[in-house]
């Protein structure tokens, strides 16, 4: 049983609802459930993760049962049911990337961030995890960062350091 960690109520913005409507219009009448995955992606991009309240509201919007949303959200690995770091580094851990050093990169990220896979750094900025094949095997090791899913290829330990530093600096500048 998954426990819902934080359960603050959410309210979808007007822009978000507009996007929902556009997505629903892509499918035949009565097949609005097709919009579920794209809508969950949009909600997650806005809130960083999917709370049960957010999922319930999506269910209401699409006129489906909440369980239908939970079933989907727990099946697909891209949906987070608890908060992640602001930058969630997802490193490919599958065969071809491992042939060119993905395991070393993951170890480096772990020691650099000082948190284990799936955990969030104290400042809330970073989390990381190994994910299965990202279909970029010729450019490995690779990692991606949501919600834009920006892609970083041919990683080295130095490149990872640079990336982490840049993301940190960006955040301090924004603040």
């Amino acid at each position: 049983m998954l426990s819902v960690q934080e359960n603050q109520p959410v309210e979808f913005s007007a822009t978000l609802l507009e996007k929902f409507a556009e997505i629903v219009s892509r499918y035949p009448q009565g097949k609005q459930k097709s919009a579920l995955l794209p809508i969950l992606h949009l909600v997650q991009a806005d809130y960083g993760w999917l709370s049960s309240d957010a999922m319930d509201k999506v269910a209401t919007y699409l006129d489906i049962q909440p369980i239908e949303v939970y079933e989907v959200a727990t099946f697909y690995t891209m949906f987070f049911l608890k908060p992640q770091g602001k930058y969630n580094l997802e490193v490919c851990r599958t065969g071809p990337c491992c042939l060119v050093g993905a395991e070393k990169i993951m170890k480096h990220i772990e020691s650099r961030l000082g948190v284990k896979e799936g955990e969030v750094t104290a400042d809330g900025l970073f989390s990381w995890r190994g994910v299965e094949c990202l279909a970029a095997c010729g450019f490995g090791p690779v990692l991606q960062i949501g919600p834009e899913y920006t892609f970083y290829e041919n990683l080295t330990e130095d490149a990872v350091d640079l990336l982490i530093d840049t993301l940190k600096n960006n955040t301090t500048q924004q603040a």
Binding site: M1, S52, Q65, P66, E68, Y70, F75
Partner: protein
């Protein structure tokens, strides 16, 4: 006048049968009956879309049809494969099928807690029967078994996910018999679980049927929990006037007391009618019912203690060394029972 339907001729383990077009291999085999009927853990004839998942009913199609006699390249799920005219099917007369089924049983059991001694389903558990008939002694699995927390879904039903074989029958029941489905399958792969996600009671007039359709002890009746082993109870068919359902049930007596009410099950373990929660959970006095007669029990059932059915293989098995070997364990058991 309706057009006359031309039946298809099918042969299963050498036994011919004529069935209506559109019949599945499994249902054709059920029309023949006996040992050549493939076991089915997930298929349920009254639940649309069920079947195909557990893979225990795999059979070999050695001849596709009269028109296209080519055999099918892989074993097929007999519950979801429809017959063709002239089709020839092998179930226990195919060593390949016997072997594959043994594999499926092993897979179903590697993460099963084998807690039959404390499981209310013991004695009428399809997985027990399956393990007994098609499994092997001992396990080759040496890793920690997957575990889940027990969940009460409402005050009448308990979900014991450790025992679940993910047949999806309960989900189909909720989809097809109730207005709003509140439970479903969460997560994926071997972490999949039946759940409501957020603790939620399943309260709906017909939700109790998830207990009857569950082939294992994953969904059990809390009003019957630990009251008695099923083989100490006596099933009596009874009925009552009910505004919700047919009111046709089986009462399970221990002495004078009705410990449990279930739907009436046929020889393949399927209920004849789905019954409502009021009949199942809240109507447990003899005075509420008009008793009919003792319920017929499955010969294999442990409730029929010491009356195990023997394995009666078709003659072809007796004449073939390979098939003898494939069915070795079943034959040996019959010997032991003599």
């Amino acid at each position: 006048m309706a057009e006359e339907v031309v039946n298809f001729k099918v042969t299963i383990d050498g036994i011919p049968v004529e069935v209506a077009p559109g019949t599945s291999i499994l249902n054709a085999a059920r029309q023949i009956g006996g040992d050549i009927v493939p076991p089915a853990m997930c298929y349920y004839s009254k639940l649309e879309g069920s079947g195909g998942k557990c893979r225990t009913c795999l059979v070999k199609v050695s001849k596709g049809s009269e028109k296209d006699p080519r055999p099918m390249p892989k074993l097929v799920a007999s519950c979801r494969t429809t017959v063709m005219d002239g089709m020839e099917v092998q179930n226990i007369t195919s060593p390949e099928v016997v072997e594959a089924r043994k594999g499926v049983v092993e897979m179903l059991l590697i993460n099963h807690p084998l807690d039959c001694p404390v499981c209310d389903q013991a004695g009428e558990c399809k997985l027990q029967d399956l393990g007994y008939e098609h499994g092997s002694e001992g396990t080759r699995y040496e890793f920690e078994r997957r575990t889940f927390e027990r969940i009460d879904i409402g005050d009448k039903i308990q979900l014991h996910m450790n025992r679940c074989i993910l047949c999806y029958r309960c989900v189909y029941v909720a989809n097809q018999l109730t207005n709003s489905r509140e439970h479903g399958i969460l997560n994926r792969g071997d972490h999949s679980e039946i759940s409501t996600y957020i603790h939620k009671a399943l309260d709906n007039d017909f939700i109790g049927n998830v207990i009857d359709v569950c082939p294992v002890g994953a969904l059990t009746d809390k009003t019957f929990r630990f009251k008695s082993r099923v083989w100490f109870t006596k099933p009596i068919n009874a009925h009552r006037e009910c505004t919700c359902c047919s009111g046709k049930v089986t009462l399970w007596y221990k002495g004078e007391e009705v410990l449990r009410v279930t739907g009436r099950k046929d020889e393949f373990g399927e209920v004849e009618d789905f019954i409502c929660n009021t009949c199942r959970f809240d109507t447990k006095k003899t005075a509420d019912w008009i008793l009919e007669a003792p319920a017929l029990l499955d010969e294999d059932s442990v409730i029929m203690v010491n009356q195990y059915a023997q394995f009666n293989p078709p003659t072809v098995i007796k004449e073939d060394d390979k098939l003898q070997l494939a069915n070795e364990e079943q034959l040996a058991r019959t010997e032991r029972l003599k």
